[in-house]
């Protein structure tokens, strides 16, 4: 069984590190891109911190040799041929994505309300229910459009999603050139100071998980 960590340029060297279960990290080279993987008799990638970090370390080591598209944790193939077949099929598109993320990292932003909003009365009728939902949607759109706009100006590409809870309104990912990370981080601090009614967190730098385009291939 093949466990896949990342996609790299066809001629880039495999990172000098060990993978899950101390497996040797190898490169499968297709005509346009290569896949960084380890071979296992059997593997169940359990989502535990140490295992997740090992996956992350291999991906980050791959980024040290050039642009890399991180593959989502837990991605496996039956064998090298299955992996190569997939890389051949998607090679052109993956190669373009590698160019897109070259020299960049991902920074993750989460935004929420600093203070719990007063508990709203249950909607009195159907229209009130719809309005309350639309209100949440518009608040999120306003945060993305207004509050987070300075961050978008520092990014090559952005991705936003609903935070999924009342306290966390927006999750956003930014593809940022590596030499802009400090500036981006300072900008987040500045935004947090200017918007005391919101809390902001920023984590990274991460491999460009949100910008790999691999979901489209799945």
């Amino acid at each position: 069984m093949i466990y896949l960590y990342a996609i790299i340029e066809r001629l880039a060297r495999a990172p000098a590190c060990v993978g899950l279960n101390n497996g040797e990290v190898l490169a499968a080279r297709a005509s346009e891109v290569a896949g960084i993987y380890s071979r296992h008799e059997q593997i169940e990638a359990r989502p535990e911190p140490a295992v997740l970090w090992r996956h992350e370390q291999v991906v980050e080591a791959a980024m040290g040799t050039g642009p890399a598209l991180p593959v989502r944790f837990g991605t496996t193939f039956a064998d090298e041929n299955a992996l190569l077949s997939s890389l051949e099929r998607e090679g052109q598109r993956l190669s373009q994505r590698l160019d897109r993320v070259r020299g960049c990292v991902e920074l993750a932003i989460r935004v929420g309300q600093a203070e719990a909003r007063p508990r709203e009365q249950p909607p009195r009728d159907g229209r009130a229910y719809v309005e309350s939902k639309l209100d949440r949607l518009r608040r999120r759109q306003a945060i993305v459009r207004d509050t987070l706009r300075p961050l978008g100006d520092l990014a090559v590409e952005t991705s936003h999603a609903d935070g999924g809870s009342e306290s966390e309104v927006v999750c956003a990912s930014y593809l940022v050139e590596s030499d802009q990370v400090d500036r981006f981080s300072e900008s987040v601090t500045h935004l947090a100071e200017r918007n005391p009614r919101l809390w902001l967190s920023c984590t990274g730098p991460w491999p460009p998980y949100s910008f790999s385009g691999l979901e489209e291939a799945a």
């Binding site: 719809v130 939902k133 987040v188 947090a192 990274g204």
Partner: protein, 110 residues
């Protein structure tokens, strides 16, 4: 492990609890937990459909073109569905974060 936090919110409370959430989104399939796991799986699918329907309905309302009566009926239906889901979650001791699945390369279901 390397710290990845560049800017933390006051108290840092909003960042850390989510790691536990991210690591627990698997259906429990041991014999004792299989029934709860099955309920969790079924409710996750139902919640997915409910959210998809609600998002589509909100888009239609936001775009305009629906009569007051249509918006009212739509809202009532959505509210009843949300209330019923809350009741089911309470009945089986599940929270919002339990109704999600990590689909590997496809990302999270909800």
């Amino acid at each position: 492990m390397t710290s990845k936090t560049l800017v933390a919110p006051p108290g840092d409370a909003a960042v850390r609890p989510e790691l536990g959430d991210a690591l627990s989104r698997r259906i429990n399939t041991d014999p004792e937990g299989v029934e709860r796991g099955l309920v969790q799986l079924v409710l996750t699918i139902v919640e997915l459909l409910r959210q998809l329907m609600e998002r589509q309905a909100l888009r239609r309302v936001d775009a305009g073109g629906l009569s007051d009566e249509q918006v009212e009926r739509l809202g009532q239906t959505l509210r009843l569905l949300a209330d019923r889901m809350d009741e089911l979650k309470q009945e089986f001791g599940l929270e919002d974060r339990d109704l999600n699945l990590d689909l590997g390369p496809l990302g999270r279901l909800l």
